[in-house]
């Protein structure tokens, strides 16, 4: 067993080194495609997390002017209370909204705000979700009202944008993964071709089939692994440094899960590529 391990390691490294340009090409293709896969996965999770947070409770927000008078506030409040299409309303004072801004916005943005700049708001749940638009048009021009927003609609727009982006990423990644498999297949084929004399002697003297095959399998495996490790670095860097608002920021569990997927896919791609090459070109 020890003899074999040494032999397999030596053969694998020699093959990788002999085909180093092809190896680099294969590894980079795996890395780029898996980075795209990882980015798409992160994007999807971020969007899901953000929309889940936004959809909790509030569906329509009536933002008052920061300097709205008490009577204007009372007017809007009583209207909201009496309208049958509004089920429930919560009032957020300027101080409360300031705290929320502090939580959501990056420091560079909220630090220039003071409590008196922030609008107070009514967070309302319409009886039927589609009534959000009626609420919007009703209150938009009410005195003292700054704006009425329905996150539902924006979330929907954002989600569909993200979905398109995700499909594009995954389609690109699919094409690249396919070419990565073919590249790995080709490097293994070249390795087999370079060693065809050795292989024929090995068969002649009775080396077992797996003895002959394993160095080529590990070669593909290592190419896939190296590529996915590069992709893991890229995905982690993206997660760590890309400036995202708090709602989008994922915890480390999500990052670990994504990286695990990236690693597994890379290793599978490498192994499949070499297995195909062995089936087709290594006649044992």
């Amino acid at each position: 067993m020890r003899v074999y391990l040494r032999y397999a390691v030596k053969e694998t490294l020699a093959n990788l080194w002999r085909n180093r340009m092809m190896t680099i090409a294969a590894v980079l293709t795996v890395a780029v495609s898996l980075s795209l896969v990882g980015a798409a996965l992160l994007l999807k999770q971020s969007a899901a997390q953000a929309s889940a947070q936004w959809q909790q409770g509030t569906r329509v927000t009536v933002w008052m002017q920061p300097n709205a008078s008490t009577s204007e506030l009372a007017n809007v409040r009583s209207q909201l209370a009496t309208l049958p299409i509004v089920k429930d309303c919560v009032f957020n004072s300027q101080a409360q909204d300031y705290q929320e801004a502090k939580r959501i916005l990056p420091q560079s943005e909220w630090s220039v705000l003071s409590v008196s700049d922030v609008p107070s708001s009514f967070r309302c749940v319409p009886t039927v979700p589609s009534d959000a638009f009626v609420v919007m048009s009703t209150f938009k021009n009410e005195p003292g009202v700054y704006n009425v927003t329905a996150p539902e609609q924006q979330i929907r727009q954002m989600n569909s944008a993200i979905r398109i982006l995700q499909i594009v990423f995954l389609a690109l990644a699919g094409v690249l993964l396919l070419s990565a498999t073919v590249l790995i297949l080709n490097t293994i084929r070249m390795a087999i071709f370079a060693r065809r004399r050795e292989v024929s002697v090995m068969k002649l003297v009775g080396a077992t089939n797996w003895f002959i095959r394993i160095p080529y399998i590990t070669e593909g495996f290592i190419q896939g692994l190296l590529g996915s490790l590069v992709a893991v670095l890229a995905v982690t860097a993206l997660h760590t440094w890309y400036p995202l608002h708090n709602e989008f920021q994922l915890d480390t569990t999500a990052l670990l899960g994504t990286n695990l997927v990236v690693l597994v896919v890379g290793v599978v791609i490498g192994s499949v590529g070499s297995a195909l090459a062995i089936r087709r070109f290594l006649d044992v």
Binding site: V3, Y4, Y7, R197, V201, L204, V205, G206, A207, T208
Partner: protein, 233 residues
């Protein structure tokens, strides 16, 4: 040691390679396989190595039907069969020592065994002083002796030689033959396909002649030519 029972083999393109061959080769025998090119000699050897399977009939080696051998056991069968070819089949980028060592390494022999066995076997074939040379620095005869060393290191039960003297001058042919005889005397069954008439005539060993896939002669102490009196067993 080797038994063919009504063995026939036809290749996919329809050329019959062997037709209904039945024969017995005892342990320790030295057999010449003669016949024109395309008479089926190489197919005969390939069947023994289980590189091909017969279409009909059975081939037994050491009492075992090799067609029934599962695929993963074929390598172990081959460890008991040494092989020598006309074109030597040495690895050009490895030294004489490494060529023989490679064959031991790939069947999983530990380094210590290799270090002790390879010099012994090189001594046997008379190449101790060439251990560090590359194959292209050797004469044809020397290269073939390396190939014999590689085939014999495992003390195989059977040694197959496919025209081993085909690329050699008479002197080198003699030395290879002497080597094969020595190996034969240790109890290894030797089957040698050849075109070398002088050699067969001089050795006076069993001769099996194939012609278009049929066994036309099996002579105990035979000669190459077919104009000699025949003694069919």
């Amino acid at each position: 040691m080797i038994r063919f029972e009504n063995v026939s083999k036809t290749y996919k393109n329809g050329t019959p390679a062997l037709k209904d061959i039945s024969l017995d080769i005892a342990k320790g025998e030295f057999v010449f396989l003669v016949g024109a090119s395309g008479s089926g000699k190489t197919t005969f050897l390939r069947l023994l190595l289980r590189e091909e399977l017969p279409d009909r009939g059975r081939i037994l080696e050491a009492g075992r039907d090799i067609s029934e051998l599962s695929k993963w056991r074929v390598p172990y069968l081959r460890r008991n069969i040494g092989c020598v070819f006309q074109d030597f089949r040495l690895l050009p980028n490895k030294s004489v020592f490494e060529n023989v060592a490679f064959a031991l390494e790939v069947i999983g022999r530990p380094r210590s065994t290799i270090e002790s066995q390879v010099p012994q076997i090189l001594e046997l074939v008379g190449l101790s002083d060439k251990a560090k040379n590359l194959p292209n620095e050797l004469s044809g005869g020397e290269q073939q002796r390396v190939a014999v060393a590689r085939a014999f290191f495992n003390r195989p039960l059977i040694l197959l030689a496919d025209e081993p003297t085909g690329n050699l001058d008479p002197t080198n042919s003699e030395s290879i033959m002497a080597l094969l005889e020595r190996i034969n005397r240790t109890g290894t069954t030797v089957v040698m396909a050849t075109h070398d008439k002088a050699l067969v005539d001089r050795m006076r060993r069993r001769v099996i002649e194939l012609d278009h896939g049929e066994m036309v002669r099996d002579q105990v102490r035979g000669v190459y030519g077919i104009d000699e009196p025949m003694e069919i067993r």
